[in-house]
């Protein structure tokens, strides 16, 4: 077994609410400073900064995971993780076709910068990224699975966009083998509340600023080599192993 310290929920400057200083390179650099091994970039409804993040992660000795924080039609946030950059980008195209296009007002919501690996701005997304898509909660697990990924409800202990606060309870279906709990101290309570189907509880930062990124506190013990970690992790969180 090898121990991997992680943070699997991080926003970059492409998320409207993400700080402009949270560039792909700075995120990977901060992870390296904090002693993390695995980091997932999970912008709202997009993976378009993942290519830059992968290149930056390599320089900073971080194992990158391509991800997205999807907003369902019900405004529930779901963390989606993919085994490869390509599979994430193909999921990105699917989500693009299901977004509700509302022009972003940068003065209200913030900038949405797409960057290259050297933190140069190469584009913007002109429509607001964080609002609901037309993808319903029931559709999400299969849609993600079709692209090789896994998904789980984000920050179930939070008022805004947490599955419990939006629906009023933790639903029986769709089945999620994993949940993300923001407050580490609430992990056990929430695992009980979310019933026996839950096998794994993840605590990530949901960082919108560089200083929010996890310290070296949360870890997985995985029986796999460094080059296989993204794939192993996804199997582990998807309920296939462990």
């Amino acid at each position: 077994m090898n121990r991997y310290y992680y943070d699997l929920h991080i926003h970059s400057c492409l998320s409207p609410c993400g700080d402009d200083e949270s560039t792909p390179d700075s995120i990977a650099g901060m992870g390296e400073l904090n002693g993390l091994d695995v980091m997932a970039l999970t912008d709202h409804n997009t993976t378009k900064n993942c290519p830059a993040f992968f290149a930056a992660a390599k320089r900073h000795n971080i194992i990158p995971v391509a991800g997205m924080e999807l907003t369902t039609a019900e405004e529930i946030h779901i963390v989606c993780l993919f085994p490869t950059l390509d599979s994430a980008l193909s999921f990105d195209s699917f989500v693009d076709s299901r977004r509700i296009k509302i022009q972003n007002r940068t003065d209200i919501f913030g900038n949405q910068y797409i960057m290259d690996e050297n933190d140069k701005i190469i584009g913007t997304d002109d429509n607001l990224l964080s609002n609901a898509t037309t993808i319903s909660l029931d559709e999400v697990p299969d849609a993600v699975k079709n692209h090789g990924g896994i998904c789980y409800p984000a920050h179930v202990d939070r008022e805004a966009n947490g599955i419990i606060s939006v629906l009023g309870f933790f639903p029986k279906t769709p089945v999620f083998p994993t949940i993300e709990v923001h407050d580490e101290n609430k992990r056990e309570d929430l695992a009980l509340l979310c019933k026996k189907d839950i096998k794994k509880v993840v605590t990530s930062s949901d960082a919108h600023y560089l200083w929010d990124i996890n310290e070296k506190t949360q870890f997985f013990d995985l029986d796999c080599k460094k080059e296989d970690v993204a794939r192993c992790l996804i199997e582990y969180l998807g309920g296939v192993s462990g």
């Binding site: 019900e74 405004e75 509302i102 007002r105 209200i108 919501f109 609002n131 609901a132």
Partner: protein
């Protein structure tokens, strides 16, 4: 009719009223913020039971005349302070959305 006139005639409570003279032209009811964002019109009284900070961004974007929080939902001091800073009128009523809308409809 202005927001301050509406408060007086309908008996709604002003939780914060930085722009009392904003003109009211209609009503929109909804709680799913993304939906409201794309559909509420400028000048609407937006009736909702949502009370988190995000409603202020939505009201700014849609340029509604005011937010009317129905069913006496409790509002945080943080929300009211921010609303004041961002010039967003926030009203309160004990009525449900339907009853509040009917009342407004008779006045405008």
């Amino acid at each position: 009719m202005t927001v301050s006139e509406l408060i007086e005639k309908a008996g709604f409570k002003a939780a914060t009223l930085p722009e009392p003279d904003k003109e009211i032209t209609g009503v929109y009811i909804g709680d799913l913020l993304s939906w409201v964002m794309g559909r509420a019109n400028s000048g609407d009284v937006w009736i909702t039971i949502m009370s988190n900070m995000n409603i202020l961004a939505v009201a700014s974007l849609a340029d509604t005349a005011c937010i009317l929080v129905a069913e006496d939902v409790e509002l945080s001091q943080d929300l009211l302070t921010t609303a004041k800073q961002k010039n967003i009128n926030v009203l309160l009523t004990e009525l449900g959305a339907y009853e509040a809308a009917v009342k407004i409809s008779k006045l405008i």
